[in-house]
């Protein structure tokens, strides 16, 4: 329950030089003098780096001595140091939510100069001090969390996530839609760039997962519904077994999406695919090499001697509007699939080293051997006398059948490495470097309200700083459901998602920021406007309560689900609902401080 705030508070203002980042453009000492005159401000101090230990000590000492009971720090963006200063307040024995931040670096000194900068810094501090005066101590929302995680998808990313989570002592359910674990790894052979056998990598993980007591594996399962919130999700699952469908329910604390991706399948006639059996995909070639038993100096495929292979890169990847043919839904794969260059070179090297009489022409747009050990594959392919030809996106190679040659195909290419001259390359086999496409998980994504990017892959919160998290707390992602990745990268992501999920559930409860809606029961009349405006299903409900012997309806907040957006506060005709830490009255006082002329003189 929010503490009533009647008396004026004692606000301390702490202004940072940021080592010149702020003070080069803002007259910090002048701002301090002006701040001292603001209502309810009892002390204003400056420091070269307020985030340093001596800077934090200033705040801690003033709080401990009782000089102040509300804190405003004027420094960089709150995303950088808000947590630092809340923590300092906690160490002084005070409630960390009596804190307000004024951003006078990104919003002032980095974009304004001279007197206007000093004036704007003053105004932002006045506004923060006005809000601080109305701040009340708040408690984090404590949610009991089940020490259990559900991993969706039994490919390499899902398996690795499950094992890593289970090793921290948290139970795991692994849900797989097919009857087989391992996903795309089942279709691979020697993995680029280092050459481990995919089957051995998979077997090593299967040995661990199948014997792990804390992991339950559910194959042949479809997820029908997902409900609940962080720490308390509930999944309804249907499992196919012996021609009957079994229903099961899983209560879980966190969810990891590891739903994977699928190989691109060329359309009928794309470089002759589907029309000639000797036009194959990279995945087909890997299968052929995996099962090949021929021992001569020349590769044989389907009993035919392969004297020359033409490999065409970037098939189904890096597609350009107006040049490439979109799918029926208008979709183009504009991204680079990343794994195909190394996989193609890996296959070429295997062929040249085992069947030196088979020649290889690789036709590429760009060779992207981006990772450790990958450029070496290219160097090795050059040493193995693989011939590279480069085509431009708007002049794709053309595969056609020959009439009077003893080679079945000729591939016409405009080779920019031979000064854009056109050449016909005879071939026995054409291999298309087909890339990775997102699997359709729109059903699951809409159940959990997960964002999907324009490339149709699942979308993380932040590509650099929060790469394995969704904006929905308690749901994570790993592997190729997010973007094209090789096995190593998928395992990296899996490890990160596992640590995130374990850290979240480790304590058995979760503390969430208290910036959520709260209903004033004395004012609420049960109109229900807030429930209609609410963006998050289940966060606000109308419940029946007894008041003076009568049963009436009142709004009730489920704090763990509330997003703190304020849509409810905006529509309530009684002003009976407000957001803790961001109340309407606080906003009003901030605006009053900004528009009053008094401070910036």
């Amino acid at each position: 329950m929010t503490e009533k705030n009647t008396d004026n508070k004692k606000v301390g203002v702490y202004i940072c030089y940021c080592g010149g980042n702020i003070s080069d453009h803002v007259d910090v000492e002048e701002v301090k003098k002006r701040a001292e005159k603001m209502p309810n401000v009892v002390v204003a101090r400056t420091n070269m780096f307020m985030c340093s230990d001596p800077g934090q000590e200033l705040i801690i000492n003033d709080l401990k001595s009782g000089k102040i009971d509300r804190v405003v720090v004027a420094s960089c963006a709150p995303s950088l140091h808000e947590a630092t200063f809340r923590d300092a307040i906690k160490r002084a024995g005070s409630n960390p939510f009596i804190y307000e931040h004024a951003n006078i670096r990104e919003q002032v000194s980095w974009v304004h100069h001279g007197e206007p900068a000093t004036d704007k810094a003053t105004i932002l501090i006045a506004s923060a001090a006005a809000k601080a005066n109305l701040l009340t101590p708040l408690d984090p929302i404590r949610v009991e969390a089940k020490k259990h995680t559900t991993v969706i998808g039994g490919g390499i990313a899902g398996i690795k996530t499950a094992i890593d989570i289970a090793q921290t002592g948290i139970n795991v359910a692994l849900i797989e839609k097919s009857s087989l674990l391992g996903g795309q790894l089942n279709n691979l052979d020697k993995l680029a760039p280092s050459g481990e056998k995919a089957s051995e990598v998979l077997q090593e993980l299967l040995d661990q997962i199948l014997t792990h007591k804390s992991i339950t594996i559910h194959t042949d399962c479809e997820i029908e519904a997902v409900q609940g919130y962080v720490g308390n999700f509930s999944l309804s699952i249907s499992k196919k077994s012996d021609n009957k469908i079994e229903k099961l329910n899983i209560e879980t604390g966190a969810i990891v999406m590891a739903t994977g991706a699928i190989p691109y399948i060329p359309f009928d006639g794309e470089f002759g695919f589907g029309q000639h059996e000797q036009v194959i995909t990279l995945q087909n070639l890997i299968q052929i090499l995996k099962n090949n038993k021929s021992t001569g100096s020349i590769l044989e495929v389907n009993g035919k001697r392969i004297r020359n292979i033409v490999m065409i890169h970037c098939v189904g990847s890096r597609q350009i509007p107006g040049i490439h043919q979109p799918k029926e839904d208008g979709k183009l794969n504009e991204y680079c699939s990343r794994t195909c260059c190394a996989a193609m070179l890996n296959a070429s090297n295997q062929i040249k080293e085992n069947f030196p009489a088979t020649r290889i022409y690789e036709m590429y747009r760009d060779i992207r051997t981006y990772g450790r050990g990958q450029e070496e594959l290219y160097t090795q392919a050059s040493a193995n006398k693989v011939v590279f030809m480069r085509y431009e996106a708007n002049a794709q190679p053309e595969v056609s059948l020959t009439r009077d040659s003893d080679y079945p195909f000729q591939v016409k290419v405009k080779d920019s490495l031979t000064f854009n001259e056109e050449m016909d390359v005879p071939a026995d086999l054409v291999v298309l470097a087909t890339g990775i496409e997102p699997d359709d998980v729109s059903g699951l994504a809409s159940m959990m309200k997960l964002p999907i990017g324009t490339d149709k892959f699942l979308l993380e919160v932040h590509p650099k700083l929060r790469p394995v998290e969704f904006p929905i707390t308690g749901i994570f992602l790993a592997g190729t459901c997010q973007a094209p990745m090789d096995v190593g990268e998928a395992c990296n992501a899996a490890g990160a998602a596992a640590v995130k999920a374990s850290a979240l559930l480790r304590k058995g409860f979760i503390e969430l920021d208290p910036f959520v809606a709260e209903v004033n029961p004395n004012k609420c009349q049960g109109h229900g406007a807030c429930i209609e405006a609410c963006l998050k299903e289940g966060a606000l409900t109308l419940v029946e309560v007894d008041i003076d012997g009568k049963t009436v309806k009142r709004a009730q907040v489920t704090a763990a689900m509330c997003l703190g957006c304020g849509a409810c506060a905006a529509v309530c005709p009684e002003k009976a609902i407000d957001i803790n830490g961001w109340a309407l009255k606080q906003y009003e006082d901030m605006v009053d401080a900004i528009v009053s002329d008094g401070f910036a003189v």
Binding site: N308, K385, V387, E421, M423, D424
Partner: protein
């Protein structure tokens, strides 16, 4: 339009050392060549790499402008020995000239 001759590298071994596939198309040889002729000897070496046998015969007069000063061989970062390759191509062209 040229049709690639996949056996050309093999055929050329009789006339020249097999160093053309060392070349990674940097163009240093063409930049240093005092003949100021378009992409010489780079283009010829590329023709060998891909197997454009007919292109070499069609453009063979270019080969006789080379004075064998040795600058390309001296500066080649891959030690592909362009000067020796050009000399080899002359032998190849002469041999095929008489035949046709």
């Amino acid at each position: 339009m040229t049709t690639i001759n996949l056996d050309f590298a093999e055929e050329l071994k009789e006339y020249s050392d097999d160093t053309a596939l060392e070349c990674f198309n940097c163009g240093t040889c063409a930049a240093i060549c005092p003949l100021v002729h378009d992409n010489f000897p780079r283009r010829m070496i590329r023709y060998i790499q891909v197997g454009a046998r007919e292109k070499i015969l069609e453009n063979s007069d270019e080969l006789w402008r080379c004075l064998h000063c040795g600058l390309c061989t001296h500066t080649c970062p891959r030690e592909a020995d362009p000067g020796e390759i050009i000399l080899g191509l002359k032998r190849f062209v002469v041999a095929n000239w008489r035949r046709s």
